[in-house]
Symmetry: D2
Subunit: 250 residues, 4 copies
């Protein structure tokens, strides 16, 4: 099998560095170009890159993707800031390059994506669902984006299944220990020195509980998702939003 | 909406009693017949039962199902002992009653079924998977049937994904603390006074872990699965094996 | 060894019934009297009770204890409502009966008492501590009394160790997901159908986490603590408040 | 308050480097000497070190400690290999320098030490106890030294409390899923990519479970224990074996 030739845009950044390392370590992938600020995007085509991985920033990502789509280079994108307008623009560019694929993923952690998916699937069957997210104490926002997104997906699934409000007899909670609600789903945010990024979804019904927990200990945990994206985007023309579409979850 | 008329076979047994109670408590179901040893199966048709729930034993269940299929009564069956021959026989009976459905489920715990399903789906993405099952100390067999089945499903998924043996550098394990393997998946069986039935599937890869855990605290936890079976079997002609087929997991 | 002769006051109540059952099941204890509303407390002395177990209510418990102290019968008390004034009164009665002992315990769950004790001991060594308590959704108050008490003990231990406020960079928490604080210790209250009474104390510091968790699945879990109280009160004259004093924790 | 002057022996090693960094970061400590292979131990006295931290190897540690004891420098030692003979030799040296202290600790993880201590204290009250230890898959031995030591302490505590064998009805365990026993305590060893070093002690009795879990995510988690040793050894003349003696656990 020929290795897939990969270029990395933003190669000197925190995530870009990890991606370069991961691509080099994979037998079926070959790192052919490292592009960073000041470099010429044309280096990608010159090096024969078939896929470009982009971890840059919202200010430059659209230019990068316009170039790649034009050059027939598939893209795997971890940069944030994709509004509906931007997505529409991407679809337009891809329409002119119908064999090229772009994967935009807000979260490349396969485990986190599976957790959200499983939580949403299970939510229909449980009277009660709550989320506990646990992070290091330097995090400035609560709840985490992943917890918020999980809660939205759970709320959507519950609504689709015709489930109403969750049972909760609490009348006396002077300290606010019951925490916050996102779309009606209670979310509790723990901040603890020593932790990295963790989340637990607790689903309860008469006589039983189902728990789905994800622990992220290091940034390297995003690499398998990036590599999966690279391997799959080459045979997935058009725009794909969300890594879950590449996980063959049925 | 008219309530679904339900008869329970083995109504005086441990599970049958719970089923009667659960059917009576459900607004959309009506308990119309309780049949037990010595009673006439024809009572089901006389009472106008549309669905029969069978928690009896392998010695009598085939007779019960022959009657129900013949009478056009759908069945939801928690009795064990279904060999391929028996399933073939059921299909034959159903062929003559093409609008009738039978659901055979080895496990009516929705949470346990979801856990197995999610574990199998996730297994493809993780280098390491191990199972810890925890039960009360009066259990005579280890590992539990659910743990064994989970391990088989995981092994199948890993094989399908082309994953090889899991990493394990252990060379020195004088006490056998690494436990047992089922189809290559390590399974650890904990027996602890105070517990009921619990299982944890741990999936690990570089920098992350995904955990899927199910806790069953009481027998009542099987009832939502039984009721779901009753509600769905009426519109699912033919033979269905496994509650997962009624969970719309995509 | 002669069995300890035990009388139960409030024998027909929910807890009293469990206590009677547990005393009868213990080889070294003998149930000699069941006293309830309308019965004569003098039955305890007539039956030769050496220890009385009292699970009644605040309105009658003082009368019961006055009788027992006067009759030289040791008491093990799970009834609530002991103010400093009431405790002073008990000490006065005991002063006149110097060989008699009374144990007052707000919580007879040995595991819960150990959890609180361990949490307080460990708290001195950790920069961050948070509590997650999980209960059935019919509970009307949050946080639970045990969580509140645990938080107080942790706060006390932190203060004693000269620890200041915990690190927490949260500036953006629109939903209140960070929950409530009791004496400066964050407490999160989860309410989930299927649960009974559970609590987790999470202690974190650079690179590590210590978790102490207690799961109470059934009311029977209080009985070992009651029986331990009975066995120890006979050799512990005077007033003892809190089961922890009988656990020989050093 | 004057800062405590600290010298590090083995300063260039993996642990020594971390210790230097931790001492420098502490306000109440001052790093005054880094000694490594080829350096003169006399540098410690010249620099005015009051405490020496030794993470070297069994071949040189006794020479280091003889020097320190002779120079009246207190020692905190993480090096392994202390036989009863070696400990006797240390006591002899300290007898001639009665104001000097040495702390030898097999484990500087405060959390791990607390877990072992709490597990041993709780074991007396529970009919069942099992240990699950979880590590990365490159670990060559199972069970871990910490799990083995925990099991020994639990077995000792159970024996002291007159507890017999644990309940276990298992008669059918074809795969050996019940794992290994250390001094009669079942220990299960999980090996999972992504993990570091984790252990859970599960204690069960009628209707309840107590869980004590320690997660070690990084080597830095040993530093608070080392610093605590430094702060306490200066006022603890003589030989102390085990960090637990400095934790004031009563």
């Amino acid at each position: 099998m020929t290795a897939i030739r990969v270029g990395v845009i933003g190669a000197a950044g925190r995530m870009g560095t990890e991606v370069c390392r991961a691509v080099e370590a994979a037998d079926d992938l070959e790192l052919v170009a490292r592009v960073d600020e000041g470099d010429d995007l044309a280096d990608l085509a010159k090096a024969g890159a078939r896929v470009a991985v982009d971890f840059t920033h919202p200010g430059v990502v659209m230019g990068n993707l316009e170039y790649c789509a034009g050059a027939g280079i598939h893209s795997v994108v971890g940069t944030s800031g994709f509004t509906p307008d931007r997505l529409a623009q991407l679809r337009e560019w891809l329409a002119k390059s119908p064999e090229t694929g772009i994967l935009i993923a807000p979260n490349f952690g396969i485990g986190a994506v599976l957790m959200m998916r499983f939580a949403a699937q299970a939510a229909r069957f449980y009277e009660s669902v709550e989320i506990v997210e646990l992070h290091h104490p330097n995090k400035v926002d609560a709840p985490s984006g992943t917890a918020r997104r999980t809660a939205e997906l759970i709320a959507e699934a519950r609504e689709g299944a015709g489930l109403g409000e969750m049972p909760d007899a609490t009348v006396d909670d002077p300290d606010g220990a019951r925490g916050g609600k996102v779309d009606g789903v209670p979310v509790h945010a723990v901040r603890l020195r020593g932790l990295v990024a963790h989340q637990e979804v607790l689903l309860g019904d008469d006589g039983e509980m189902l728990t789905i927990r994800h622990d992220s200990f290091q940034r390297t945990s995003f690499m398998p998702g990036v590599l999966l994206g690279v391997r799959r985007v080459v045979s997935t023309p058009g725009l794909t939003v969300g890594l879950e579409h590449f996980l063959d979850l049925g």
